[in-house]
Amino acid sequence: MDFKGFDKNIAIDQEEVLRPKMVTVEIAGKKYQVPEGITVIKALWYSGQEVIRGAGCLGGFCGACATYYRTKDDPKVRTCLACSTAVEDGMSFTMVSPFPARKATYQLSELKDPKQDLFNLYPEAPLCRNCNACTEACPQGIDVRDGVWKAVFGDFKGVSEMFMDCVMCGLCVPVCIADIAPNLVALYASRAQGAFFTEKPKRLHERIDEIAQGQYQSEWEKILNMDEQQLKDVCAAIK
């Protein structure tokens, strides 16, 4: 690209980023030098590793890259998504292998009493011992423990609102001392909320009927019988 006439004053000066500073990180027990500030997943690539299990959307949405990490001299092991966390000097991390959580399978349309059915599908859900480890493990900052209790007490609406941010990384699962899979419980509650406890949108059903009854037929015929120029003119006139 040609950037002639570019104003030199309009530039963000941060010399240290121009010449990346190298930092030492420990990846699954082995030390590597990587540029400071790159994401954890890029540090893995930089170290020469190919990542297939653990790379997904790379945008913080799919939950594939769940990672445990610890920063220098801090005993606390934290969780993050590798695609959206920057490395720093002295950081050690390892990606989390998929955890064998049990997902209950069900036919949504055949549920009779979804709030009660929760206890058949996930009998461990009410056994939460309030340790709060799930909440601490959530890289999305969801109050997971509260969500589990809301599900148990039938506040599916509350659950669905809290868990809209959930990327299903599953980091809440291995830490649970009651063997609950909070993300799966929440997903069940959210789906049930949508399918059973949310108003049917009237306007949508009217539109479905209108289309089925052929209400737009004459308009379609008019449009589809136009020649290219006529159609172009119609489109050009759209505001």
């Binding site: 530039a11 963000i12 500030g37 297939i52 997904g56 299903m168 949108p201």
Partner: protein, 526 residues
Amino acid sequence: MQLQALQELVHKTRDARRNQTLPKYSPAERDTLIKKYHPDHRENAYRPLKFGPNAGDKTVRELAALLEGDSPVSAELDLMPTSSTDVLVVGGGGAGCAAALHAHAHGAQVLLATKLRLGDSNTVMAQGGIQIAITKEDSPVQHFLDTLKGGHMKNDHRLLKTMVEEGPTIAKWLLDLGVLFDRDPDGNLHVKKGGGSSKPRLLTCSDYTGLEIMRVLKDEVLNQKVQLLEFSAAVELLSDGDGACTGAILQDLDNKHYMVVAAKTVILATGGIGRLHIQGFPTSNHYGATGDALPMAYRLGAKLLQIDTFQYHPTGAVYPEQLVGALVTEGIRSEGGHLVNAKGERFVNELDTRDVVSSSIIRECEEGRGVRTVTGRLGVWLDTPLLDVESGLGTLEKHFPAMVRQFKRYGIDITKDPVLIYPTLHYQNGGVQIDVNGESGVRNLFVAGEASGGLHGRNRLMGNSLLDLMVFGKRAGTTAAERAKAMKHGKLTLEHLARFRAEARKHTGALAVHSPMLFPDYARKE
């Protein structure tokens, strides 16, 4: 100059800009702008294909190499099937899951293979919403016309009419599966206005629409016990030697072994090409977006459409470096966010179509009105704090929690400061030519979603991709399942490959690359 000082100009000019209305460009102005600045018009980035169904058609060099590429599979491979199914779905994103669910519901035996995990896709990242004409003021016909205009009149009319008409039943299907769309106080579905649309038509789940839909579809695929093969990539298709597709060869990515799958029908739902980084662009796409369907279908003789046009989403992050290429949702502009150049001026109607907005951002940067970051990237400002100014404190936090979170991770508060953006490679406008049931030019080979072409013309409108996936995933799944019921498995051969290789030898001297690519090669070698 420091970042803060430059941002200051955005803050200072905000009030003046609020009173300003920028007209949209006339059709003639749009054409001139796009021809001059849109990456689709950079001649030297393109070359004609030398052979195959699209011989002579131009496409970007990166894709041309893959289309003319060689299969990794040897002609001597033993084609004794390792498994057999009615319908083989390749790809585990929105289109793949929709296809698998509908095929399953129509009584077919379904095998879904995906090279990453079920649900790892671009679908999961879609923030803007799904376009469905449901309000009284709106109609499927209006949706059709808006899309046609956005696509520069090059959309396939039949595909487009099918999509807009089936939108409302798709919304119902998703609601029945438990998808939680945003509502109005009266219980109706809330609609937002998207770029290039004349009416508010976007159904949303805050700015997590794709995530919410993907979470539910993935869960439903598991509930229906659809047979799954994760970390298994399709690398070649099989044919009966008589022009029909009869299965595929998958590669287990853990042990590299090939699996031969005999299938009565195959549905390719492998998504787009962002990770080819065409023309060196960063991308908003997921790790596996390497366009696998295109070379496989091409070798089998399927014609591709509009493979010379790609969508560069106007607002990809350019700062901080960790977020380069990541998408800043169009929702910000839908809700009134301004694009501002280094002089503190607006330069385009922010709700114009994506190609127009992208072209105008590139124009600003090339003409010296861009802001340069330390890593040498150029961009313009997206005035995010304006939304809180216009609609009250907390607006961003409430409507764009994903974006607030994304930047907060790097110490940037988008409710207080604007963000730097530049177009990012976002979508493959074209793809494999299909009919209204998703069937390609090759019998029993279906293609759904971004891998297919024709529906969006030369520019896709925001919110039409999610609908595309659901409508054509459904139609491909349904048709493939019904077809499979009435037929037997075909012969399994690689005859098409022998023909393709013979033709390749005539045209290319050098050894071709292997395709599909499967993954970008990011691991450092030295």
